[in-house]
Symmetry: C2
Subunit: 223 residues, 2 copies
DNA sequence: ATAAATCTGTTGAAATTTCAACGAAATGAG
DNA sequence: CTCATTTCGTTGAAATTTCAACAGATTTAT
């Protein structure tokens, strides 16, 4: 566990908790660590929500599939991020999304029941954990507002620009990377991949953007 | 305040709190009640998040506007519902949405700081309130998943059917009402209003649906 | 290093959405 | 009750997206 202390300390779930208390608490919470290869399913749609995941290394995506196999990407999960907490906290019967490793991952799993309900040792940090969970859920809520702001645009071009402008702002630079390949970006923006590729080329030809794989640069920011 | 006790007791924020404690707590939290006429703005986009709202009577919509005035409806707020809590809990500087009364409303406002930080009277219910807020935020998160599941469909017809099927399931009947007029439904589904009207007519002609204003009935459920 | 598999950009045709405009119906105000 | 306003359904044309197919590039596995 010590190996991951640095990552765990940055995890919002453990805000306000000292190092040695953190380690004790992890034992008390029955935390486990599991590794996943690329493309493996970390949480599967349809299961009961029980565990909160903490990403220790690697990246994963939250995805939703409909009847016809259309894929929608909801969010990106990077080291220090929590996932599955909304379903676990709401004690949902049926999780409507899957979490899929987009690179090899190491994940810490914690049974959410141990966080929400007092543990036998009464280790006294539940209140802080619950407060931290509340903050995290509020932040996730705002993230969804952002995603909806992006995908509510009506054209591929507008969605793409809205997305890229958010990422540029987030990274504080006109030159930045995105955590998606083309298909995943299309699934996040909820548009057709080939149409998305065409739009990227067009923006490059117009001198607004420069793009090499997952790296983008604004030459002329619109708006 | 007593007048609203019946509604407040059903509000998830006050779960697990007895009637007389509830009334005392409202005083301690500095709760205020304000009325709004139809179309009035309850919370305005761009302001700092400070208050949690509780709807006491009437209905409101959460809406987002982009540069060009395109409107997107995020959610419906009915009596007993909480709103604004995500921004207040995350202590957001700039709320990206407005809350607009879609009928005359009465709203209770509570300064969120009084919930998150211990009050001078130390009235001892903060832990319960924070737990309740966490549950509420987890539920809202799931609501957004649902909205995204609906709006990620690529055609007006699929979005409309997905939405109506959710509402039918929610109300446990093939005959049900929706809380939107045509324009608001279009803004929720993120489609063109006239195209939506056309699609509704088509579904009716095909014998799948029956519709009178905001009332819908499935005659033949697809899928 | 080589072969296989995956990812990406292009294309053109078909399907769908958006947009603007209009009249009819419903609602609200005085 | 009447007039003004808003909502709603319809239309046709223009713009955009989706779909399918393909070849070149890149990545992965052996």
């Amino acid at each position: 566990m010590e190996k991951y202390l640095k990552i765990l300390k940055k995890c919002s779930l453990f805000y306000g908790i000292s190092d040695d208390n953190l380690l004790k608490m992890l034992t008390c919470l029955g935390a486990r660590i599991i590794g996943f290869d690329k493309k493996y399913t970390i949480f599967a749609e349809g299961n009961t929500a029980k565990y909160i995941g903490i990403m220790l290394s690697g990246t994963a995506h939250t995805v939703q599939m409909d009847y016809f196999g259309n894929r929608s990407v909801l969010s990106v999960i990077k080291p220090t991020h929590i996932f599955g907490e909304a379903f676990a906290c709401a004690e949902a019967e049926n999780v409507p999304v899957s979490v899929i490793a987009s690179e090899p991952c190491e994940v810490m799993l914690i049974d959410c029941g141990h966080i929400l309900h007092t543990c036998s040792n009464n280790c006294g940090f539940h209140q802080q954990l619950i407060f931290n969970l509340m903050k995290d859920l509020a932040t996730k809520n705002i993230m969804f507002h952002q995603k909806i702001e992006i995908t509510s645009k009506r054209t591929t071009r507008e969605k793409l620009l809205a997305y890229l402008l958010f990422r540029a702002k987030e990274q504080g630079a006109d030159s930045f990377d995105i955590p998606f390949d083309r298909q995943a970006l299309a699934d996040y923006l909820e548009v057709d991949r080939s149409g998305l590729s065409a739009e990227i080329s067009k923006l490059c030809r117009e001198g607004i953007l420069e793009c090499r794989k997952n790296h983008f640069e604004f030459l002329n920011k619109p708006y």
